[in-house]
């Protein structure tokens, strides 16, 4: 049960981040260590000043999909950031920013929400992932 779950978040739209947060929280509830690695547009969404904002939806959502997502939000579904906060309270969840993406986007660590534990390169991410499953979103 101690095998890690490892998520690479690339996409920065709210629907994909929500899916990633659900997978993270579910794994944390099972007591699995979870390593989350933030790249590109996902990392951009973790800026402290933008994390609670509207990050849009993936193109395939369309108008109908937008309506479904909005209905769930109005019904009180926790935001992806809140879901991740609760997952971290359970313990075992480590969220790291990709150092290359930090350079690319001109982000400093103090620009990021406290959900992010640190900055690392891809080698450190793979080392921590070990033999655990890897999920790319």
């Amino acid at each position: 049960m101690d095998e890690s779950i490892n998520l690479v978040l690339f996409s920065g739209t709210d629907d994909k981040l929500q899916a990633a947060a659900v997978l993270t929280a579910g794994a944390a509830a099972l007591g699995k260590p979870v390593n989350v690695f933030l790249q590109y547009w996902a990392l951009d969404a973790f800026r402290a000043e933008r994390i609670e904002g509207d990050h849009g939806l993936a193109p395939e959502a369309g108008e109908e999909g937008r309506g479904h997502v909005e209905a769930l939000r109005i019904a009180g579904q926790a935001s992806w950031a809140d879901t991740l906060r609760q997952a971290k309270e359970l313990g075992g969840v480590d969220i790291q920013a990709c150092s290359l993406s930090m350079d690319l986007l001109g982000i400093e660590q103090e620009d990021l929400d406290p959900l992010v534990d640190g900055v690392e390169g891809v080698t450190a991410f793979y080392l921590n992932a070990g033999e655990g499953q890897l999920i790319f979103i």
Partner: protein, 78 residues
């Protein structure tokens, strides 16, 4: 047979996946071994999720029932 009272309750009605399980895991961390937890949920994935969570974490699912759209689970803390 000894009777053990439910000491902890989690009301996860209206919460979508995976929050019922997250709330349950949070509550379970604070419970003593052998005590009972009752969870109410409306997420239709709950039946399979609670069975999987119990199997995977070693906590025992001692009872489950459905009343309309509300699922009720009783879990004994490992």
């Amino acid at each position: 047979m000894e009777t053990v009272e439910i000491t902890t309750k989690v009301d996860a009605r209206g919460l979508s996946c995976p929050m019922p399980i997250v709330r349950t895991a949070q509550a379970a961390k604070l419970m003593a071994s052998g005590t009972l937890l009752e969870v109410l949920a409306t997420d239709p994935g709950s039946i399979k999720d609670f069975a999987a969570w119990c199997r995977s974490t070693g906590n025992e699912l001692v009872d489950q029932s459905v009343d309309g759209a509300v699922y009720r689970f009783v879990i004994r803390r490992k």
